[in-house]
């Protein structure tokens, strides 16, 4: 099934014909999103960079077989999701989060300290989710993918993604509520 025109179509076409400069343009465009997604998934900078590199290399190698049934962006997130969930299931490792509330240092502005506490509370809530729920939430909330794009990125149906996000957001509500009660948010 052919989807709507993708703003990346022209560049992807050049990259598919083996033009490295065109592919570099795509890497530049998506590096922040792909790295951010992977970092939030595995909470480890080295793993996130390794997986991000692997995502782009796999994309380059698979470009001749990319049938453009989805946008390049969702196809890229599909590769990243598969690599990341595989690694997490193999290593069963998401970097543990130090949930100790940081004490405010003498020279730290109040606003910066509160921002740090807020970030920690949100990251803890996300880290507590199972990997597939975390993946759906990150793609929806931070990467701005629509439910249809999340389906393509995760290889799941719309009802399945809707249910995954419903469960995830309910779990997050509880965690965020607890953080509010502790005055972290």
């Amino acid at each position: 099934m052919r989807r709507n025109p993708d703003p990346d179509d022209a560049v992807v076409g050049r990259a598919r014909s083996g033009e490295p400069a065109a592919f570099e343009e795509l890497v530049r465009k998506y590096q922040a999103g792909v790295y951010g997604y992977l970092f939030r998934m595995c909470r480890n900078a080295a793993d996130a960079e390794d997986l991000a590199q692997e995502t782009f290399i796999r994309a380059w190698q698979a470009l001749p077989r990319f049938r453009q049934e989805s946008s390049f962006k969702t196809w890229l997130y599909r590769i990243a999701t598969n690599l990341c969930l595989n690694r997490l299931s193999r290593t069963r490792r998401t970097e543990p989060l130090d949930e100790t509330i940081p004490a405010r240092t003498a020279d730290e502005p109040q606003e910066a300290w509160q921002r740090k506490r807020r970030t920690l509370a949100v990251e803890s809530a996300l880290a507590a989710l199972p990997p597939d729920q975390r993946s759906a939430v990150i793609l929806s909330v931070y990467e701005d993918l629509s439910y249809a794009e999340i389906c393509a990125a995760m290889g799941k149906s719309i009802p399945s993604v809707t249910s995954l996000l419903y469960r995830a957001r309910n779990a997050l509500r509880q965690s965020l509520q607890t953080a509010r009660e502790k005055g972290l948010l």
Partner: protein, 137 residues
């Protein structure tokens, strides 16, 4: 059109808060929300949570990610498989080598004398009796 109850509505509230609901489902859920303050409050909480989740800073990509990817792409890939033409050539060369080796071996390497021939040579030198001829019986 049947209106939704609270349980059906709640399973779709996240999708509505994410702006993903359209058509008849959206109309039915809005009808329910118009008369259900609990579900309306729940919808508002999901929308607030989304805003809270988005307050944290985005992780910054490492500075040399693009360079590292492009270096790996431009490096020649290790050759895992031989091309069919190269594989066929190698089979031909190996077969020709084996044939030539066997043929040259027959020509150049002297045949090792049999036990009987070696006895005869020694017997003739030492004037020993000849072996009894068993052939032809």
């Amino acid at each position: 059109m049947k209106t939704m109850n609270c349980e059906e509505t709640r399973s779709l509230l996240v999708a509505l808060a994410d702006g993903e609901l359209a058509g008849p489902d959206r109309r039915r859920i809005e009808e329910h929300l118009a008369k259900c303050p609990e579900c309306t409050e729940e919808l508002s909480a999901f929308a607030d949570d989304r805003k809270t989740l988005r307050t944290i800073p985005a992780p910054e990509a490492p500075p040399f990610l693009v360079t590292r990817v492009m270096v790996r792409i431009s490096a020649p890939a290790p050759r895992m498989w031989l091309s069919p033409a190269l594989a066929a050539s190698l089979v031909l060369v190996t077969a020709a080598g084996l044939w030539l080796g066997t043929a040259l071996g027959r020509t150049l390497i002297p045949r090792r004398p049999s036990e009987e021939e070696r006895y005869c040579a020694v017997a003739s030198a030492l004037s020993l009796p000849r072996l009894p001829d068993t052939g032809g019986e």
